[in-house]
Symmetry: C2
Subunit: 226 residues, 2 copies
Amino acid sequence: MTDVDHVAVVPSAPYQAVETNRERVSRRQVDKFAERRAQLADAALQTLAELGYARTSLREIAQNTEFSHGVLHYYFSDKEDLITHCVRQYEAACVTRYDEIVASASSAGELKREFSAAMAQTLRTDAPMHRLWYDLRNQSLFEESFRADVLEIDQHREEMIWRVISRYASFGGFSIALSPGAAYAILDGLFQQALLHHLAGDMDAAEVLRANVVRVLDGLEVRDSR
Amino acid sequence: MTDVDHVAVVPSAPYQAVETNRERVSRRQVDKFAERRAQLADAALQTLAELGYARTSLREIAQNTEFSHGVLHYYFSDKEDLITHCVRQYEAACVTRYDEIVASASSAGELKREFSAAMAQTLRTDAPMHRLWYDLRNQSLFEESFRADVLEIDQHREEMIWRVISRYASFGGFSIALSPGAAYAILDGLFQQALLHHLAGDMDAAEVLRANVVRVLDGLEVRDSR
DNA sequence: ACGCGGTCTTGACAGTCGTCAAGACTTTCT
DNA sequence: AGAAAGTCTTGACGACTGTCAAGACCGCGT
């Protein structure tokens, strides 16, 4: 799969996949190729997180690297190809964020405390990257190109949240009245609002977020006593 | 105030506010001016809702009118000025959307039913305009220019939601455990998720949204029985 | 009927964008 | 060492953007 991408991107090296002699060599080259791709995609991610989708140009991205702007078309066929790659790279760093908390917590109260604190901490330290995520998700409301990737990442985020919530419920010995989708949408709404206020200079936004998450989790807990 | 704007925008007509003789005349002209401004801003809103902020140009907006692209700089000093005016115009149509339901409902159950149904209906009929709202709100995460207006509109939306929620609580005879901000963020998160799925072709998105809103309102109701 | 001021069109400007071809440089293989 | 393949730079292209000046058009008041 990586071979196919490589060949498709570099028409000056149209070697066939049937080559068995220099297999080791091309493998190494593919690794180098993929490595630089990731490096450039990372620089693109930083630029996008700083300027937003609407204002990020390929030249601007290249200025955040040690290379010139032309190199981007050597490693990516297209601007859309680059951004798609960025989105996928973002997912990897994002979608297992709270899993260690789930693994290490030993009670409902501890999970609630640590999860809400972790969300607040994420807001404080990763606000630019998350505003980019919301920006790209919004782009997918207008153009179809990113939509499949966005939906897939959103699904993974939902599952991540559900791992937290269902673990929390099993600790507390109750079931959840909300669907995984609804639980994710609620927490995501809280985070997005906190992000807006945080970036607008509200210093209390993270703490308010933490308190709201705790209150929502408390609300889930009560639901089962009907 | 409108006079000041008019003069600021049209340097070829720098008449003073001290004019008392043709007061009636200039008043009429100001009305015409404001009327056309609103008409152009409306066309801009339609274009923005269709293409999104990143892809909307002044020439594209003008093509949705009977005029040429130059007229936009006659009525608006600047692209930012135009979009700011669009945002304000959007607010007027949006921020009192559910107030008549609040006024006409006569029980908690009726309010819950009608409000959730109205949100689902909004999703079905006004999806493009709402994706624009989310787009512009996201832009304000990157550039400061719209931020004040966005925060103001968000505040008004929060108050609108709170009018629904507090009315619902007073009908049911209980208090609400969530702050107005949290309640708004939760419902907004649900709507945004539904919007994404709706625009991605999920025909059930509106119905799922309705059910989720009902479930959230039910959750609020239970909270007070602790 | 004439002139004037508000309204609108036209065409151009400087800048930026994504894209790509041509070639220079670097690394690797024989 | 020489050749070949991979990597990167440079500079240009056409298209598109926001902006604005010059002037045409039109309706109104006198």
